[in-house]
Symmetry: C2
Subunit: 340 residues, 2 copies
Amino acid sequence: MAITIKDVAKFANVAPSTVSRVIADNPRISEKTKKRVREAMEELGYHPNFIARSLASQSTEVIGLVMPGSADKTFQNPFFSNILRGLSESAHEKNYALQMTTGKTVDEIYENVVHMVQGGRVDGLVLLNSRADDKIMEYLRKRDFPFVVIGKPYMHEEEITHVDNDNFRASKEATEYLLELGHESIAFIGGDLSLVVTIDRLLGYEKALRIAGIELNNQYVIHEEFLREGGREAISELLKLSDHPTALVVADDLMALGVLNTLAELNISVPEDISIVSFNNVLFAEVANPQLTSVDINIFTLGYEAAKNLILKINNPNEPVKRIIIPHKLIIRESSAKKH
Amino acid sequence: MAITIKDVAKFANVAPSTVSRVIADNPRISEKTKKRVREAMEELGYHPNFIARSLASQSTEVIGLVMPGSADKTFQNPFFSNILRGLSESAHEKNYALQMTTGKTVDEIYENVVHMVQGGRVDGLVLLNSRADDKIMEYLRKRDFPFVVIGKPYMHEEEITHVDNDNFRASKEATEYLLELGHESIAFIGGDLSLVVTIDRLLGYEKALRIAGIELNNQYVIHEEFLREGGREAISELLKLSDHPTALVVADDLMALGVLNTLAELNISVPEDISIVSFNNVLFAEVANPQLTSVDINIFTLGYEAAKNLILKINNPNEPVKRIIIPHKLIIRESSAKKH
DNA sequence: TTGTACGCGTTATCAG
DNA sequence: CTGATAACGCGTACAA
């Protein structure tokens, strides 16, 4: 058995509670005693037991990350590592540990969240990619459990702290950029329509077209998974149409990559035949051939701010609800060009 | 305050200890009582408190992941997400949670590990990328704390359970492949020499050359970080030499990507002027231009087996030490060709 | 300024 | 088969 607070107390000739106070740096303890106790801790190699501390203080100093769907798929997108990097750095700065929950199905994930929360495993949660039918959010709200959302909540937007981009504007700008290049047949490839991020980007795209006086075409809007496969399928659908689009707004770099791959196989050149603008600007965008014009959404910062504000909220229940908008920026590369 | 075991006990008219036994599905409790208690739990919406359970049972059902160096850099390499995917899936299957420790410096990471271990936050640890001077491993061994290593331990290899590839053989084969293509000036670009994986791959490379009767050239061996920047710098070094190599063995895809980028800028073509074989076969390898010939090391499986065997060890202290070798396979793509 | 005693929610031991 | 009761290690009113 490891060294406990009692051992230290005995060694330093004080009561356990005094040791506890020294750990908390309680000002009511004399410097002399503090010094003596600290020496004892050093001498014995004492380290506080987190579990016991958690039980007594009802807080764990752990935050959890909830992934939206199949962990397997989420991990494949570099978007995720960048989010994780931000979360991790932020948590680390505040001495919080980061724990992940995974699950294969929505129900399984929900169960895991309930277990974590009721089981007191974490002090707060970061939710990734909110969707329309979010049971988890509902549950957390009902229990008044601290959480922040990365992305925009589908409902109760004004009452939930979230970190997001202005996806509507970003998508509108991306589409306008393609319009300026002379494109008029512009298609949109997004994720599942239950994902708020897809909705926002779709609306921005539509708005830009409407302003330009271009009629919306239902067949030009495709929804697939945020994976390479998704992109491949989406472009295949579009190419079946009698009149292809000459430009695409793609809601994710990895999807765009799939599009590129399929087009390359069909000997359709980018940007000569089809221009592409995608989102996220992960490393892939730069590495792809041709390099992808992509909207940088500062993924790291999304994660960083999410964790930071969650921890703020955990430590101050009266922390006001915040909507944090992370800036975006269109990075122009080789995949987009003037219409021929 | 949430529902506790006591509330359930009262509701079901039994003692708390009985409820505890029902949770553990203790066979000495009558089915009738079990049913009654379970109904009470259901009725009250009871969920066991993990923290209290951990304190009493001295186990947390959490495993930790220790990253080797700057988390910031580690996250950038897709190798990491794949490891994480494997760990996560395996942990999830066994109902373990996964927690990450990060830190900017080696000392900071060491401190965090000590805190986690002594603080009883985790039941076991997975160590990523062992290096020569591993204080952490020494510490864990001294405390007899359960851990497994991904990669090969530098010391006490026979006494530490680890999951690894046969990097020596993989590298030897990769080099032999280049030799078969007619190359004789083959350089090696690896990570820091304190990383065991670098050592193994370097040795395999040297072995292949020696067997082929080719003299080793110190200037042909470069060590940089497993990042794109590292690759860029490495190839720049090599190109300063009066006689460049015509082929490269690169210990990491992301590095190889940096090499490709730099070569492209200098109008040196791959594979016409220089052939490249790299390691890991992450998605980048396939996406790069030209596509990278790369040794697939089954990253997911490395992670999966690591977590699996760690949990095995946690639950059975007498579990024998294991060395688990994950198979590798050379995937030939466009970056390698016969010497002109 | 410091010590005593209890509670946090479980599990485990020992009776019965 | 079930019920008291004592840990588990720490935080914290309340006392002194």
